[in-house]
Symmetry: C2
């Protein structure tokens, strides 16, 4: 029943239902039920499928872009931030088999679980239907993000993300402080310090306060090591 | 003529000869002749093809191995050290179009060029013949290395590699010093310091001097940042 609903969401019908069940099984579920397969190996495979499909798409779609730029764009798509966002939007978290402990501590919304599930499902579609089916699946969910990233328009809301992290840390306090402003009125640059529990964890600059704060939040999340946590 | 010889070496005949020429064109050649395409974009694509083919091979061949282990094995194969070694063994360097300056400073033997050429040719085979042809090409050249890596038997000669690096640095002097030995006679451990021009750049330990020196050389190469240089 759950599998059918997921198949509808992702637009792909599995021949091998065991495969999709494995893709949805978080390691915490295994530990509690002592079954044999969790989704980590499929995640390993799915990550490589994503890399190839996105690389080929970028290679063909942007013949004028150099390797360095293509690499940067790809990294913005195949990362926890991007994949967890797509996963959350499509509510994939509800299908994951996970242990009670994981679930009770917010597992269904956890970024790493959401991103890894997306990768594992990608791996399962690839094994079940081959590269072309995997490509269809991936581009259905990520094409807009890829094009946005290529045009410099893929921006995640890092301030909200940092707020989530602070909450998980039992109410740490996040504070943004404009450290200085430079330049003439019509062409100002804002410099913002980001403090977590009064400790400086990131800086950012930008043409307005919002942009500077987003950059500071991104740098703060990098500093905390949560941006690409698995 | 050169293309035909390469095709014989790699066991694949290209439909689109422009593709293979691009795969063989190092950026230094472009700069001198001001043509339009070098192999860097194909290298970007080929890297992703390699990742997928090797991931799938490992996934299917070693169902008992966990994700972490698979990731480590893959990293040992898709790296400059491994790909340049395969490339050199098959003499791919002779086919590369490169600038005179590059050639005169040892470009045909340069690790980064050899590895990148292997990736670019992989990308070209994939675009020209599809995933199955790319898989055949990759496994023909790398299957033994993959299996060796999986069994912990893939060992590169890092001492020789460091010697090459020292030579490129106009005769820097490499020295290994046994710093200490511990344990009983039948179960000794050797600790070796590696010095480059009298400066400590790596340490290594092992059951014999050779093993300790290889480890020290590996650590020294990491320290110098040359192991995965592109």
């Amino acid at each position: 029943m759950e599998v059918k609903s997921l198949e509808k969401t992702i637009g792909y019908k599995f021949h091998n239902k065991t495969l999709v069940k494995t893709a949805l099984t978080h390691s915490s579920f295994i530990n509690e039920k002592s079954c044999s397969n969790n989704n980590e190996r499929l995640e390993f495979l799915g990550d490589a499928v994503l890399e190839l499909v996105i690389s080929e798409y970028l290679y063909k779609k942007f013949p004028e872009k150099l390797e360095g730029e293509l690499t940067k764009i790809r990294a913005k798509i195949v990362c926890t931030e991007s994949l967890s966002t797509v996963s959350a939007k499509n509510n994939l978290g509800r299908y994951v088999y996970m242990g009670k402990g994981e679930e009770n501590t917010g597992g269904r919304e956890r970024r790493s679980i959401l991103a890894n599930t997306f990768e594992a499902v990608t791996g399962a579609v690839y094994l079940d239907g081959g590269l072309e089916e995997a490509r269809k699946f991936i581009l259905r969910f990520l094409k807009k993000n890829i094009n946005d990233a290529a045009n410099g328009k893929l921006i995640f809301d890092y301030k909200t993300r940092l707020q989530e992290v602070a909450q998980q840390r039992q109410g740490s306090i996040v504070e943004y402080r404009v450290e200085k402003e430079t330049g003439p009125e019509h062409n100002k640059i804002f410099y913002v310090d980001l403090l977590l529990d009064s400790k400086l964890i990131g800086k950012g600059d930008g043409k307005n306060k919002k942009e500077a704060e987003q950059k500071a939040a991104y740098n703060g999340l990098s500093f905390l090591g949560v941006l690409n946590e698995k």
